[in-house]
Amino acid sequence: MTVINTIRGIGHRIINAVWRIGVAARFFFLTLLYSGNSFRRFHLIIKELFSSGVMSLIIIIVAGLFVGMVLGLQGYETLKRYGSESALGVMVALGLVRELGPVMAALLFASRAGSAMTAEIGLMKATEQISAMEMMAVNPIARIVAPRFWAGVISMPLLAALFSAVGIFGGYLVGVVQIGVDEGSFWSQMQAAVDFREDILNGVIKSLVFGTVVTLIALFEGFDAPPTAEGVSGATTRTVVTSSLAILMLDFVLTAIMFRGA
């Protein structure tokens, strides 16, 4: 009997997981469908850009600076062995623009803004604000979800770009100012080696994908949270865990498609 129960339990979990993916896909579709209102009343998106984008600036800038400084230090140590310290600028810039910028910014965004979105919407549901909105004949997906979704999609590439820019400055501080790598070769090699389409554009595409996925997970978890204290806290945790894993897995997939040894 226990074997059958175990198998039944596994099957039940799988069916539930597939079911949730379906519900999330429907949620995504509805969000896109009801997005028109957000663009007609753009101030709704601007308000959310402030709370998810602008309020994430500090964490993105501080984290970017330190990641760039570590890259500068580690990069110098490695490149020195091959006598190519002058390529430090290239290494820092490519590392940030292609990978660390989009990935780290998305991870930070998920834990700073994503968790806040989930908790906010979950609590709105628990305090009947969403039911109240429905009873007022206002579609909560159009009014609450869509502006937040587009704010996330818009702010993510900007935050990732800022992360990379500040990170490059951090690498410059450590590599050029502190260690004494030649400033001219640091910048000129970086300019020569970083390709706009190949590196920067691909980085922007990555951060757009991450922004879409993270924001969608955060909004869906909030909207789907059981309206209790436990439900909201569980949903917030799931937002951070699921979106972090999704970012790292998608990063591998996107990298494999974009840079497969070409």
């Binding site: 906010e120 604000q129 039911s131 109240a132 429905e134 009873m135 007022m136 004949a137 206002v138």
Partner: protein
């Protein structure tokens, strides 16, 4: 002949998880009247309100509002119908990220193209009607429970609905706020020419203001009448409910195993 009732409920049945929640409910809410639905917690009152709002579909029977059957409406038709309704939720359900002013203005901004100065005048009038014109710049977190309920009431009537529903409007209020809210419900109903449905278990306060009462227990109507008829009623259930007696048709004990067996005592 009197005009047809605003809301009619006929033979409404609803089952949740194989458990019958509503069984054969028949109710009539005439225009301009204030009707209370009373009963114990969990007797299906809120479920009934959700049917009237079109949030749930019945298994049998129907709710007809203003000539249309709620569960047969398309999503667009349902939203159009809901614009004629207002609902006050148990704890107000104010939008916590908006000020009192923005909460009351919310529906006007969502559903109308009125210029901001007219919206301002309307909001100030609605807030004045509930005595909170001076609190328009406060946030919901700064309000007391009674004030939040009054702001929610102003928001509920923002677009002058035909039907106003109240879900436990008296829950958790101090005696002064309680009578203020009761008085407001009656006055707003009469001033707007609306029809109101109050779901409550506060007997004393609601009998003062309502025109008619339905008593529910376990998903069926067990008694109905005007406040005077109910005060004079000698039905067991009504008496137990009206006087808050511990035991009667509604038992004090939740059904369980034999007490002696639970205590491991053998006879």
């Amino acid at each position: 002949m009197s005009p047809p009732a605003l809301v009619e409920i006929r033979d409404l049945n609803f089952t949740y998880d194989k458990r019958p929640v509503l069984q054969g409910i028949n109710m009539t809410f005439p225009r301009g009247k204030l009707v209370a639905i009373m009963g114990l917690s969990g007797c299906g009152k809120t479920t009934l309100l959700r049917h009237i709002g079109g949030a749930l579909k019945p298994n049998r029977g129907y709710v007809r509002m203003d000539g249309q059957v709620m569960h047969e409406l398309s999503p667009a038709g349902l939203y159009a119908m809901r614009r004629k309704m207002g609902m006050l939720f148990q704890f107000g359900a104010l939008f916590t990220d908006m000020s009192v002013y923005d909460n009351v203005a919310f529906q006007m901004r969502e559903h109308t193209d009125l210029p901001e100065d007219i919206i301002r005048s309307l909001v100030v009038m609605k807030l004045n009607a509930v005595g909170l014109r001076g609190a328009q710049n406060m946030m919901p977190s700064e309000l007391s429970g009674g004030m939040a309920r009054r702001v929610a009431l102003a928001r509920t009537v923002a677009l002058d609905p035909m039907l106003i529903m109240y879900d436990e409007p008296f829950a958790g209020l101090d005696p002064i706020s309680l009578s203020v809210i009761g008085d407001l419900i009656r006055r707003l109903n009469d001033a707007l020419g609306a029809t109101s449905i109050i779901v409550t278990h506060d007997i004393q306060e609601s009998l003062k203001i309502v025109d008619y009462v339905y008593f529910m227990a376990n998903g069926v109507i067990v008694a109905e009448g005007t406040p005077d008829e109910l005060r004079a009623s000698d039905t067991d259930f009504v008496r137990q409910f009206m006087h808050g007696e511990m035991d009667g048709p509604v038992p004090f004990h939740y059904p369980g195993a034999d007490y002696r067996l639970d205590l491991n005592l053998r006879a």
